[in-house]
Symmetry: C2
Subunit: 401 residues, 2 copies
């Protein structure tokens, strides 16, 4: 009806497949392995309640008022401390920027950095909402296969050299080195250093998404690439959605001050600043150790759920499927026999009462037709088992037709 | 240093003059009439505290979790009720969209609607942060003089006819009909209806910013233009920043469902959704009548402060200056003798210990060199008097040189 009033760019917007799916399953007897929600039992509700009472008693005038675009100064200092727990040093509050979830960091930085046609390296598969945000900038995607230990760096170097041989440059690589979404893989420390050397050699930026850096539940969580960055070449983002509560909508960026200043200008246009009230809550949660003390519980809950899911997959999936064995995060990624198109199979899965995300959404070129992402953080354990059983039945049925 | 990595659009970003000013005045003995902050004594802190306790007791799992992109369904229903208090009827939750402050509504809709070169009508002067968000879309601005009762509609019709005679169309008009920022003027009901008829005749959209609709403290607040809209031609936005607390960062849009759907797609890229926690607080504040019951106090506080400011201006400003006498909102706008350039005068005012916003920032063409916006909502009454005295001295000094 109002089509004539829309801007030309508006038509490039695509709905998020995950969200459409969530709508499909609403109010139906469907076990959803499609989401990416934290388990609400990991929310430190009592501690948040105490914090909010104290904030409203002592700092209501500030916590309810407008604040600076880059974030509350004292909160940015606490984010320096929190980032140090991930091994990032040599920064101060001027290198920190507060966003409305890390999604806003993705949106802002892709807009600040990318022009149409720019060469952008992404993992295949990679985070769907990052891909969608990038797509609005119409870049040229260069996809790198994700192996069991993250992106294949030999393939990466080869493709970069090809690009350079064509007289073109790389603008940036978007990468999730730890407990990757959707693949669940984690890069080794050596590979992180090597990737940084490659970026330096070919002069491109690394945009590192460390959403799951605190959520490694097996072995050590390797330091983020940002921890090795001496040139200011790495832009780092993380989120409170997985370690405190997504409903506060808080993320942060650690980057060279030049980028922080550009973000400040841009965010004035978008929403002036991130909610002060949320910032005060998270600031106190860091100061009081609420986040730090809650991490062991989160890791335990997710490790248990992962184990339940992997065991169920082992039991119910066909033998010629393969899947990741994540050491952190919230997802398992599966490759089914080539014959299966997971997008086409989805309707049948929903009829059997289980939802997942078809994997092609996670590929810049929409390949990965036979892949799927399944979530273990939100469903209850018995739902995980029953969901995987239903999914296994769907797959076997699909293979037999 | 990293200039080479920035997108072409990034250079169109301009810093907000208001925010730069606020930085200038930090930590100095300067009375700032430059801001646009609500008086913190208007925050219903005790009621918010009670609400937060109840929300965390009864709905923590939802209030701390991810939610729908358009906003929490029950909250959108409450926003239908709140909008009805402004005279808007015939809508349901599908016409409502929740944003991170009304700034995000401005940003999103200008991006959804505007292409470079599109003809956009704005008031002269108009809200600076809206202008800056629009500027990134590189439209062609058509400025309409603001008179004592809002935009001059004869001038508007003349300029639209000229545009049409050139074979071009108007895309939209951005307008603040009530307690306009910065001018403080309010359109009559007749003019609102006439403007809507003009929009219908020439087939353009009206983007109505009703930030101060609930803040009319003298006489009745006329219904917003949206209240007369039968065609879905008016996109309406308002905010909780003035009627509850800006630190929650909550705004909302009322519009035809076609626009709501486009916003939903776009916001998935920007920040997924507006903080659930803030939404729960505001939802309960509507349900419990906290907002409605708090309005008389807010209006009384601001009316008293306006009176103090106007009396001080009468006393200390030169006789050949003129200024608005706002019946609502937070600002007085002043026209000084033509000789004065308020941008150049600012440094001298700061030396005398008072800050204001030079008016040219509020004009699409940066005219209005002799104008200024001064805020009465935030400073204490004695600061208002002393600030205006210092400002009067600065102006008289400037006139005598």
């Amino acid at each position: 009806m109002f089509e004539r009033f829309l801007s030309n760019e508006t038509k490039y917007l695509r709905t998020s497949e995950i969200r459409d799916l969530l709508k499909l399953t609403e109010g139906r007897n469907v076990i959803s392995l499609a989401g990416g929600l934290p388990d609400p039992q990991t929310f430190p509700v009592e501690e948040i309640k105490k914090i909010v009472d104290d904030v409203l008693l002592n700092n209501a005038d500030k916590a309810l008022q407008y604040t600076a675009t880059a974030g509350i100064s004292e909160f940015r200092k606490e984010l320096v401390n929190l980032s140090r727990l991930r091994g990032i040093s040599g920064i101060d509050e001027r290198n920190v920027f507060v966003t409305v979830g890390s999604q806003e960091a993705l949106f802002m930085l892709f807009n600040i950095l990318l022009d149409p046609g720019d060469n952008v390296i992404v993992e295949a598969p990679t985070y769907l909402a990052a891909l969608n945000a990038m797509r609005t900038r119409k870049p040229n995607f260069i996809s790198i296969t994700v192996t069991e230990r993250g992106p294949n760096l030999d393939e990466l170097e080869r493709k970069i050299r090809n690009t350079h041989n064509d007289g073109k440059k790389i603008k940036l690589m978007y990468v999730i080195p730890t407990a990757q979404n959707p693949a669940g893989t984690t890069m080794t420390t050596e590979d992180r250093k090597r990737l940084l050397e490659i970026a330096s050699k070919y002069d491109f930026l690394i945009f590192e998404d460390d959403a799951y850096g605190f959520l490694v539940f097996e072995g050590e969580s390797p330091p983020p690439i940002k921890a090795f960055d001496k040139e200011g070449r790495v832009i780092y983002t993380s989120t409170f959605s997985k370690i405190l509560a997504p409903g506060l909508r808080l993320g942060w960026v650690v980057a060279h001050e030049d980028f922080i200043k550009e973000m400040e200008l841009y965010k004035q246009n978008i929403d002036l600043h991130t909610p002060s009230f949320s910032q005060y809550i998270a600031m106190e949660a860091i100061r009081r150790g609420v986040i730090q003390n809650n991490l062991p519980k989160i890791r335990r809950v997710y490790k248990e759920k992962r184990d339940v899911m992997l065991e169920a997959i082992e039991t119910y999936f066909p033998k010629d499927a393969r899947w990741t064995r994540p050491v952190g995060g919230m997802f398992v990624f599966a490759w089914l026999p080539e014959k299966i198109d997971t997008t086409k199979m989805l309707e049948k899965a929903l009829q059997r009462g289980v939802a997942y995300v078809p994997g092609s959404s996670f590929y810049a070129d929409y390949s990965g037709k036979n892949t799927m992402r399944i979530n273990f953080s939100f469903p209850k354990k018995e739902e995980l088992v029953e969901g995987i059983r239903r999914l296994g039945d769907t797959i076997k049925q699909e293979l037999s037709t």
